[in-house]
């Protein structure tokens, strides 16, 4: 499969103004969509000012980078939109794949029709984003995700075709981050004043030290001092991306991964939500985290994908129990179903509702499965016969795996897996298993 991807938009996205108000037209493209450029949503946004600000913030996220070279920056990353179940969700990642942002327009946030449901890339060009700045509170704004009528775009017709290297990090990040979101727990709720005060204590510049969220004397603040049960935020300067939205928000909720591998900052504006999820550190992208790897060890039956695709609709809650019953899957494996499907880009996670929702990433499935080099490397180790099990008892599995010039020791005891390789030595399993452990697990069928 080509490592290039061609985004083909029939016309650029644009914000058009006429006497009735503004009309935000988002041009869409998906390499897996069944119809040609369907219209997913057409209708009025009830709070266009807030939604516009949130989309600008999302655009700032997708244009930001905290650890990449200019070459990587050049890759295009348009956000994706999922429309359906009365919700419109816009998702995007920073270039470095360490910051994930999502704008949710909830049922009360719009007054329109979902002509089709699904997930698609949308063109986020700079002129359109720039013109969003002028949406004021009193304006009416129509949103069109995909073209309902040809006439809307007739005056501006020009096919936009951009052939770019496949944004591997982006797609991997989109699959991995859902697993982190699913594990997060709600830790703090701040009202607007508290949230603003908290952000006043953001240190300036690019910060290398870990910071912690602390509430002391009724005041919320960021501090470099670790305290028991504190929420840890690495690369805290990335939070500045949501600072412009704070004065408008009703409240801010903070969710944290139990091992502090990610934090989610969700802002609430009535029927619009903006959430920002940042990775453990600014140099770590969700793409490099191996959270999904173990779930992909076993081959995933194609009919699972067909089943979810046929019976699920965009943004609908995904019910793993129902799925297990339908598929006659061992109920003990229930928890891994969602993990496996989200690792394949079929599910997103809503921390507020604490459940998965269906949305198939607008990329071919083969792409998604071919994006995990650690998994591929593990398979290569097995193919080349470089894995040797030396002990296999009920509570211990020990193996030797050939590395570069040395044989690594892998010992798996219950939930605990260890390896002598550099990756494991440095991260101690925090960033997913190394290829050696994955190979041993795969060989053993565990």
């Amino acid at each position: 499969m080509s490592d290039l991807i061609t985004y083909s938009y029939n016309t650029p996205s644009s914000l058009l103004k006429d006497q009735q108000g503004d009309q935000l037209f988002l041009s869409n493209y998906s390499e897996v969509q069944k119809k040609t450029n369907p219209c997913f949503f057409w209708g009025r946004l009830k709070d266009p000012h807030t939604t516009a600000r949130c989309l600008i913030a999302l655009s700032n996220v997708v244009q930001s980078s905290f650890s990449l070279s200019p070459f990587e920056m050049a890759k295009l990353k348009d956000p994706i939109v999922t429309a359906g179940n009365e919700k419109i969700r816009f998702e995007g990642f920073s270039h470095c794949a360490g910051v994930y942002a999502r704008v949710d327009v909830l049922p009360d946030g719009h007054d329109g029709e979902f002509i089709d449901t699904g997930t698609t890339n949308v063109d986020f060009n700079q002129p359109m984003i720039s013109s969003l700045s002028r949406i004021s509170k009193s304006e009416h704004m129509l949103l069109s995700v995909g073209s309902k009528e040809v006439s809307i775009i007739a005056g501006n017709r020009k096919v936009v075709e951009r052939k770019v290297p496949l944004p591997v990090k982006w797609i991997k990040g989109l699959t991995s981050v859902q697993l982190f979101l699913a594990d997060t727990e709600h830790r703090f709720t701040f009202n607007r004043m508290q949230a603003l005060q908290l952000f006043q204590s953001l240190p300036s510049g690019s910060v290398k030290t870990d910071y912690y969220v602390l509430v002391r004397g009724g005041r919320a603040q960021f501090t470099p001092v670790k305290s028991a049960e504190a929420v840890c935020v690495g690369g805290i300067h990335r939070l500045k991306l949501i600072a412009p939205l704070l004065p408008m928000a009703d409240e801010l909720k903070v969710f944290a991964h139990p091992d502090m591998q990610s934090t989610t900052w969700q802002l609430y504006f009535g029927a619009v939500r903006f959430s920002l999820t940042i990775s453990r550190d600014s140099w770590r992208g969700f793409s490099g985290e191996g959270a999904a790897l173990e779930e992909l060890l076993e081959d995933i039956p194609q009919h699972w994908v067909d089943l979810t695709d046929n019976y699920s609709y965009a943004n609908h809650e995904f019910n793993p129990t129902l799925f297990a019953l339908e598929e006659d899957i061992d109920m003990q494996k229930l928890s891994s179903i969602t993990a496996r499907l989200s690792a394949m880009g079929l599910l997103g996670f809503d921390v507020d509702e604490n459940r998965f929702f269906y949305r198939q990433l607008p990329y071919k499935l083969e792409r998604i499965l071919s994006l995990n080099p650690r998994l591929k490397d593990a398979e290569k180790l097995l193919e080349e016969g470089k894995v040797e099990i030396v002990e296999n008892t009920s509570d211990k599995l020990e193996a030797r795996v050939q590395g570069s010039g040395v044989k690594h020791v892998v010992i798996i005891e219950g939930e605990k897996s260890r390896c002598t390789c550099t990756w494991f030595a440095k991260h101690q399993g925090e960033r997913g298993f190394c290829k050696h452990v994955l190979a041993v697990k795969k060989m053993n069928g565990s």
């Binding site: 984003i129 700045s133 002028r134 004021s136 009193s138 004043m193 470099p224 020791v409 390789c421 550099t422």
Partner: protein, 949 residues
């Protein structure tokens, strides 16, 4: 398709002979397919003739200039866009070549190729605006707005032939320029604001630019004033960068719009209020100020932006917003309650003036009984200063008037606060520990490792050896220079210890050591010198070496420890390590230490002096009763006396004093400020006590220093020495460790005793090594937690060293210094010990340092420990620094307001003591920023008076 060989040969010949005039007619005669078929050959020829080679001492292209010209022409005609760009076409535009070729060959990609330059950092000089118009006119190019904007922005500064000038009149040459193209500079990220930045005309930097040009054309009626105003407003809010956005709002202001013009643009002006750039927001506010009271102004739309404006970090924005709110409330009663309600958002500002202004607005326009206002004030009550709070008493419920804040519990002085350190239990665990031993993942890994190799060395079987191969490989790579960020000097030392340890094990199993020895051989074989050493010594080769001269002092304690342990292993001598921590990060339970000492006594094992000292410095001394009882029971002789002296608060030293380093260390740990007469005979006391305690005299002063300036004189660069003043905290290090002077009978007795006790090879005192004798730190920052962990109960000598190295001025000299200070503050924060005078000085310098993280850490230490710190002393130190304005006072007052104030009643009381003591030290002539300091002190007084926290 196969190409006629003659053409191929002819093509080659034209290139090789550099026949510049022949290439184009030749290519024009060829078909598109033929030209395409030349590509492989063209690439080879280009690679050969355009390659740079070293000729006669210079780097030159292999081909001659004519050959290069021929190739460039061929590139454009034969290559596709990607090939052309990678052959150099991405850097420049060859106007001459294009002029010759375009009339008969214009590739389909040409227009996109030229437009592509616009989005790069550098627009080639050949792409002048008039040239772009020409290409467009000739039908070769469809210029995109960005290309027009970027080329046009510099066009008025370009002379027609060459060089720079200022030609605003050129804009009228083409009708399309002023009618359409000029607006592209407002709609795309052009360089309009800085286009004249590097323009020199007649030896002077050009002062005029686009601002003057646009205004002149507007006044001359060439540009519509209405459109110019509108485009300027819109352009200042297009997500452009700060400078470009700011330039557009300046243009708008310079045009001095009249009120009716402003009214027509009010919708656009309002959207500027959510700009991320304060200059744009303030520009808009100033404009709105003129029309806010006019009929027809969209008051509600403006009020919608108030929460954003009042949370701005720019004081001028908040001030202006409050002014406008007052105007609105005065004029239109319908909005007065809403204005009062919105004003509560301003209490987030920590400025007394702004808060007071907001409070007065509420007082004037808000009804105290309005529940919405009461709710808003209730949300903001926690942020209010006492002045505004007094103004709004009637708006608050009684429970809001004095908020009780929970006192933060200071960590109890209990060893149970620290997690026990797990010991490595078997060889497999050791294998995985060694795999991460040089990653500096945890500061105690070195201790765990030493403990494990001493205990488990005999349990390593022949077949286990190979398991260590990955760690051996990493250690060898590290040893030969594969250093990664985060690895300290201790990691390098550990790599040596580990390699020597594995070699010792390999020696035991000659048949099972193949894989390991192969690794050693492969690495050592990388250089002839190493290979020779390996061949000569084989497994007798040692990797562990003393630390280099730059780091010799600070790393000696580990050096002694590592060498001692390796010596025991080599001699197969039984060893019990005393200094292995029992609790994280580096504490030792005194009960366990006594048990270890007792085992040594029972087995008659010799104590290593450095190991003993580290163990004493790591000993938890806060809860000694169980340990005292145990020492009484199981220890004998001098060790028993030593431990009882250390643990019992009132106990005096009792001889014999053969374990001199132990007695001296124990005495320092117990009371660094006291000289026990019983120990006066210890030879260490030849040196001044401060060498061991780190309690140096100090002063903050201005001092003159010399530096070298480079000046260009008479066509030559010369070094010129210059003098300047700097403000520094200077520690008074005793020169060459002069002996302490004693007099009279004491002197005679001491001399007699020392003569008797003195040994030639005096065991070194660990705390004496806590010094840095180098200009710059290298990797010490990554070892700081481990350095602190050598003596967590006695951090002040290390603090003195780091203060002298990294904090003596108010700016850090580099990231390493900053990291070192932060790491030491972190390590100290986790240790829960009390600070002496040097610790207070370190804290005071950290509170004033330029790094926000380090200063915040210092503030957090103060918040936690304010009850057990000497706030008077700390304030006095801060005052002594600030009386010569060692650091900007704002840095400190901002920190106090943001972090240290209103934490709790007790913290406020402590802060009062600190500030009083600080203010006392300040000169009569106020220093810069002193007013704010006094305001904070006054605010604290008011809060106390009103019973507020």
């Amino acid at each position: 398709m196969e190409v006629d060989m003659t053409k191929e040969e002819k093509f080659k010949q034209i290139v090789e002979d550099g026949l510049e005039k022949e290439i184009l007619p030749f290519l024009q005669d060829c078909s598109a397919a033929e030209r395409k078929a030349f590509v492989p050959n063209l690439k080879k020829l280009s690679k050969y003739y355009l390659d740079y080679t070293h000729q006669n001492g210079n780097w030159k292209q292999r081909g001659n200039p004519m050959q290069a010209l021929v190739l460039k022409r061929a590139h454009f005609v034969c290559y596709n866009r990607k090939e052309y760009e990678s052959s150099g076409g991405s850097w420049s535009v060859e106007k001459d070549i294009l002029g010759e070729i375009l009339p008969w060959y214009c590739p389909s990609w040409f227009s996109d190729y030229i437009n592509g330059f616009a989005s790069r950092d550098f627009l080639p000089t050949e792409l002048r605006y008039d040239y772009i118009l020409l290409l467009e006119h000739q039908g070769y190019l469809e210029p995109q707005p960005l290309l027009i904007a970027r080329s046009l922005s510099r066009w008025i500064f370009e002379n027609d032939q060459h060089g720079n000038g200022f030609h605003p009149e050129k804009l009228t040459a083409n009708k399309v320029t002023l009618e359409a193209h000029i607006w592209h500079m407002f709609q795309t990220e052009s360089n309009i604001h800085a286009a004249n930045r590097w323009i020199w005309v007649d030896g002077k930097q050009l002062e005029k630019g686009w601002l003057e040009t646009l205004i002149a054309h507007c006044e001359a009626g060439n540009i519509s004033r209405t459109r110019l105003l509108q485009e300027a407003v819109l352009a200042s809010n297009r997500n452009f960068d700060k400078n470009l956005s700011g330039w557009f709002i300046t243009l708008f202001e310079t045009l001095q719009p009249a009120d009716d013009e402003l009214m027509a643009l009010q919708e656009e002006l309002l959207t500027l209020l959510s700009s991320p750039h304060s200059k744009v927001v303030n520009g808009s506010l100033k404009a709105i100020k003129s029309i806010v009271e006019k009929n027809g102004f969209a008051v509600q739309s403006f009020l919608d932006y108030i929460p954003v404006l009042l949370s701005s970090e720019t004081k001028a924005t908040v001030t202006l917003a409050l002014q406008l709110m007052e105007k609105i409330a005065k004029k239109e009663k319908a909005y007065s309650e809403q204005v009062a309600l919105l004003a509560a958002s301003a209490f987030l500002q920590k400025d007394d003036g702004l808060q007071t202004r907001a409070a007065k607005l509420i007082q004037k326009f808000g009804k105290p009984e309005n529940p919405e206002i009461r709710d808003a004030i209730s949300l903001s009550a926690g942020f209010m200063l006492s002045g505004p709070r007094e103004l709004l008493v009637s708006y608050m419920d009684s429970n809001m008037q004095g908020q009780e804040v929970e006192e933060q519990e200071v960590g109890e002085m209990n060893l149970n606060n620290f997690e026990p350190l797990t010991r490595i239990k078997d060889v497999d665990e050791l294998v995985f520990l060694t795999a991460q031993l040089f990653d500096n993942n945890q500061s105690w890994h070195a201790d765990q490792f030493l403990d494990a190799i001493v205990r488990l060395q005999d349990t390593i079987r022949e077949e286990d050896l190979e398991k260590f191969a990955p760690a051996v490989q990493r250690a060898l790579k590290f040893f030969f220079g594969d250093w990664r960020s985060g690895q300290g000097i201790v990691d390098s030392m550990l790599a040596g210890v580990f390699l020597d340890f594995i070699l010792l094990q390999a020696k035991k199993y000659p048949t099972g050591n193949g894989a390991i020895l192969k690794l050693y051989a492969s690495f050592l074989g990388k250089s002839e010198k190493n290979k020779k050493v390996w061949e000569e010594h084989g497994v007798a080769t040692t990797f562990y070496t003393d630390p280099d001269k730059y780091t010799a002092l600070l790393y000696q304690p580990w050096n002694f420890l590592f060498k001692g342990i390796l010596a025991s292993l080599r001699a197969e001598r039984e060893r019990i390590i005393l200094s292995t921590p029992t609790h994280l990060p580096h504490w030792i339970d005194p009960v366990i230490l006594i048990q270890r000492l007792s085992q040594c006594q029972q087995k008659k094992l010799e104590l290593e002096p450095m190991d003993l000292q580290i163990s004493l410095c790591r000993c938890w001394l806060q809860e000694p009763s169980e340990a005292i009882a145990l020492a009484e029971r199981i220890l004998q002789g001098e060790l028993k006396q030593l431990m009882l002296f250390l643990l019992e608060p009132d106990r005096k030293p009792t001889g014999p004093f053969l374990l001199q380093e132990g007695w001296m260390t124990a005495a320092l740990l117990k009371r660094p400020d006291v000289l026990y007469p019983e120990l006066s005979a210890l030879p260490y006391l030849d040196k001044p006590l401060v060498v061991f305690t780190g309690q140096y005299n100090w002063q903050t002063k201005e001092e003159e220093y010399e530096y070298v300036n480079y000046e260009w004189t008479d066509g030559k660069m010369k070094d010129v020495k210059a003098k300047a003043i700097r403000k520094v905290i200077r520690l008074d290090f005793p020169e060459k460790n002069q002996p302490k002077e004693e007099t009279g009978l004491k002197k005679i007795v001491a001399l007699f005793k020392r003569a008797k006790l003195r040994v030639d090879d005096l065991p070194p005192l660990m705390v004496e090594y806590m010094k840095i004798d180098q200009t710059f730190l290298s990797r010490e920052d990554f070892d700081m937690r481990r350095l602190h962990g050598l003596a967590p109960g006695y951090p002040e000598p290390l603090m003195a060293a780091i203060l002298h190295q990294c904090l003596k001025e108010n700016q850090f000299t580099g990231e390493t210094d900053k990291r070192a200070v932060i790491a030491l503050l972190q390590a100290y924060y986790e240790s829960l010990v009390r600070l002496g005078e040097m610790g207070h000085l370190f804290l005071s310098a950290s509170l004033l340092c330029s790094d926000k993280t380090a200063a915040t850490y210092a503030a957090e230490i103060w918040i936690r420990d304010h009850g057990r710190l000497n706030n008077k002393l700390l304030g006095e130190m801060l005052g002594k620094h600030q009386r010569i304005e060692f650091a900007p006072m704002k840095r400190f007052t901002d920190l106090v307001v943001a972090k240290m104030m209103s934490v709790s009643a007790s913290a406020n009381a402590a802060l009062e003591v600190l500030l009083d003591s600080m203010i006392e030290q300040l000169p009569k002539e106020p220093v810069r920023g002193q007013k704010k300091l006094l305001e904070i002190r006054t605010e604290l007084g008011k809060q106390k008076k009103h019973g507020l926290n």
